[in-house]
């Protein structure tokens, strides 16, 4: 009710800012060619809202990449403009209008989430502004026919099979138990995992519980009675931590695995370090742990120096998304259209993975990365094809 009214007010605000921007922009139409000395790239996502914890790291990654580039004193400098959408589609829409009309960005890193990406994709397309999202994983985004939209992470439908296939390879289970809460993401992931297990000839039993439930005794009873070799949970870290603790307390010892929604240190504090030990997580994200080597290690050290914390989820992807734009600008492209053409052919070794886009904007490399809890800390084992479980 009040949401609809708020939406209308925002739409009105967006429309009026568009008008203002159109007026203001009248004189500056000629800056597409000629001697451009600086361009603006936007970063959009939830910077202060409820899920800011997963948007701040890619923001930091993007800031790092741009700073490294500007420090080289290039011919065309890049200014990174940050837009705090709080993850809300309506807010993202008005911010994109402002970014295009007033700030004249020529590319956008983000939006971070799928909902807001869906809301602004058409607007970016119309205005010929290329976007590269570091973290929006909804599979449907690639099916809109957008040519200016890209992302550098694998989508949700790659994740379920990725996790299941990895577990089949690593544990050769006979029976799997797939659990989820009742949210869209959770159910989708759990269904995909269950399907892949069945395709691989693994017997699957399932259970679900309501979001926000705290007592999982009936689920624990079912799992204990089924006695599976592996357990996969689709859902977020708060529930995953509680569930894992109660499973272990209930005497269930099978390997516990989950997806990106649960990949957070809080799953370990929630479950307790002992119960969480050896738990496995799959994620389209590449989060370096302190023991990595090579370019990931350089990234890890630089990130830590700049931000005083270890790189967290989607930090490398934020860096890679920014690098894609930087390479385009370096190659002499200073308009949205030209950058987009460049992105179609881009091919470089990113920090998270090799970056190359398919025609629909999906990354060519849709690797799922595997993590395991070791000594109370999440440790990166590598891409699912190469990763080896330790115990």
């Amino acid at each position: 009710m009040s949401g609809a009214r708020l939406g209308r007010v925002l739409a009105l605000a967006a429309a009026s800012s568009l008008v203002l921007a159109a007026c203001a922009g009248g004189g500056g139409g000629g800056d597409a060619g000629g001697d451009v000395t600086s361009v603006k790239i936007g970063f959009m996502g939830d910077l202060t809202g409820e899920a800011a914890a997963i948007v701040i790291p890619p923001r930091n990654g993007a800031v790092m990449a741009v700073k490294e580039y500007n420090d080289k004193n290039p011919k065309v400098k890049i200014e990174l403009v940050q837009y705090d959408s709080q993850g809300k589609p309506d807010q993202a829409t008005s911010l994109v209008t402002k970014a295009i009309g007033q700030d004249k960005i020529i590319g956008l890193i983000g939006p971070a989430f799928s909902g807001e990406s869906k809301a602004v994709g058409g607007l970016l397309e119309e205005n010929k502004i290329p976007s590269v999202s570091p973290s929006a994983t909804n599979p449907g985004l690639a099916e809109n026919g957008w040519t200016y939209w890209h992302r550098v992470v694998a989508n949700d439908s790659d994740q379920g099979p990725g996790i299941a296939e990895f577990l089949v390879k690593a544990k050769s289970p006979k029976k799997a138990f797939v659990i989820s809460d009742d949210q869209e993401y959770s159910v989708g992931l759990a269904d995909a995992v269950a399907k892949s297990f069945k395709d691989a000839g693994v017997t699957v039993e399932t259970d679900k519980f309501a979001k926000g439930a705290s007592d999982y005794s009936s689920t624990v009873t079912k799992v204990a009675s089924a006695n599976p070799d592996v357990i996969v949970y689709g859902g977020y870290y708060a529930e995953a931590g509680r569930l894992l603790k109660q499973l272990r307390d209930g005497g269930v010892k099978a390997t516990f695995a989950s997806g990106d929604g649960s990949l957070d240190q809080q799953v370990i504090t929630g479950a307790g370090a002992a119960a969480a030990e050896n738990a496995v997580f799959g994620c389209p994200c590449n989060i370096p742990s302190p023991d990595v080597t090579g370019t990931l290690k350089t990234f890890f050290d630089n990130y830590k120096k700049a931000n005083n914390v270890d790189p967290a989820i989607y930090a490398t992807e934020g860096y890679d998304a920014a690098t894609a734009f930087i390479k385009a600008v370096e190659a002499g492209n200073t308009t949205g259209e030209k950058i987009n053409e460049y992105l179609k052919t881009i091919n470089f070794e990113g920090v998270s993975k090799p970056i190359k886009f398919k025609a629909n904007g999906e990354p060519e490399n849709n690797a799922i990365f595997v993590y395991q809890v070791k000594g109370g800390v999440l440790k990166l084992l590598g891409p699912a094809e190469e990763a080896k479980l330790e115990g």
């Binding site: 409820e50 439930a213 705290s214 007592d215 005794s217 079912k222 708060a238 809080q266």
Partner: protein, 320 residues
């Protein structure tokens, strides 16, 4: 199907009794306040939340290196229960003074008090998320907070294939002891007689020399203390809490109170345990995502045949 049921029946029963005991303790607060004031105190779920955080702070301060046993465990559990009961009880009294008494003095309608209750509930949640939890724990207020392990998960005995653990026994025994104590207090003491008199007929009670303000204060104190005990047991059992932990549990406890017969103390016990058991038994057949559906279907069916709940509204009935 039958095989599955037999396999899971006893473990589910144990789980149902544990969670049912916690529902019952929280339900007592709803039922007492309703009995005396005809008010559904929606902020009661936040009184429970305050109990869990009191226990979290105490356990974290004690920080047992390994789970406790014997007298140490008994002492710490007692401390936990008493402190949580005191803080929650105090918070409930404060809530009454701030959110309900001014309305009552002005003769506001029950609907007004209900809105005030919902407001107080949201206020307390946000106060904890934004101010109190970051101050207490130094962590983000909306994150789940975990406590160290206080009680080992040792199996004490088994019934069939169901393992009954130390923590299960503590929850059920503590809950039953608290409920018996409360029942005696209400049915055997002077202050209890005052509560019952006020519940039956506030005006006559005043004429007989009962101070309504005192009675209401004591009612909130007792109900809040029971929620505090529930909070302590919850934290010991699940070892996690969050600013909105009371939301779902509060709804369940309120359901338990209605199921047993709102206004009836023994009804709250029966309602809580029945709800916990039915949820877990139903989950065997249909899966745990159907727990809430099963629980509320049972509630509707019971209320169709017994509109006053399983045991009826006895706090108001003349049994002095």
């Amino acid at each position: 199907m039958l095989d599955e049921f037999l396999n899971q029946f006893l473990p589910s029963t144990v789980g149902g009794l544990v969670v049912g005991s916690i529902y019952a303790l929280v339900a007592l607060g709803y039922t007492m306040v309703y009995g005396v004031l005809r008010l559904i105190n929606f902020a009661h779920s936040e009184i429970f939340m305050i109990g869990t955080f009191t226990s979290l702070v105490v356990i974290t301060a004690i920080a047992p290196a390994s789970p406790l046993t014997g007298f140490a465990l008994f002492g710490v559990m007692l401390l936990l229960i008493l402190l949580s009961a005191a803080i929650s009880g105090g918070a409930a009294m404060l809530l009454e003074v701030v959110a309900y008494r001014p309305l009552r003095k002005k003769g506001a309608t029950r609907l007004t008090a209900l809105i005030s209750a919902i407001g107080a509930s949201l206020f307390l949640q946000e106060l904890f998320a934004l101010v109190v939890i970051p101050w207490l724990t130094g962590k983000a207020g909306r994150n789940q907070q975990s406590s160290p392990r206080l009680v080992d998960r040792d199996t004490v005995f088994t019934i069939g294939n169901a393992a009954v653990r130390t923590d299960h026994i503590i929850v059920v025994v503590a809950a039953v002891v608290m409920m018996v104590a409360l029942d005696r207090l209400v049915n055997r003491t002077r202050i209890g007689r005052g509560i019952r008199a006020t519940a039956q007929d506030p005006e006559a009670a005043v004429l007989m020399g009962v101070s309504i303000d005192n009675i209401v204060r004591v009612t909130f104190l007792l109900g809040g203390a029971m929620a505090g005990v529930a909070g302590a047991l919850y934290l010991m059992e699940f070892e996690n809490t969050v600013y909105n932990v009371g939301f779902v549990l509060g709804i369940k406890a309120f359901t338990a109170a209605v199921l047993g017969g709102i206004g009836n103390l023994r009804g709250a016990l029966v309602g809580g345990v029945v709800l916990g058991l039915i949820e877990n038994w139903g989950a065997i057949f249909l899966g745990s995502e159907w727990k809430d559906v099963i629980a509320f279907t049972v509630l509707v069916v019971v209320l169709m045949f017994r509109p006053t709940g399983i045991l009826g509204e006895s706090l108001q009935k003349a049994r002095a």
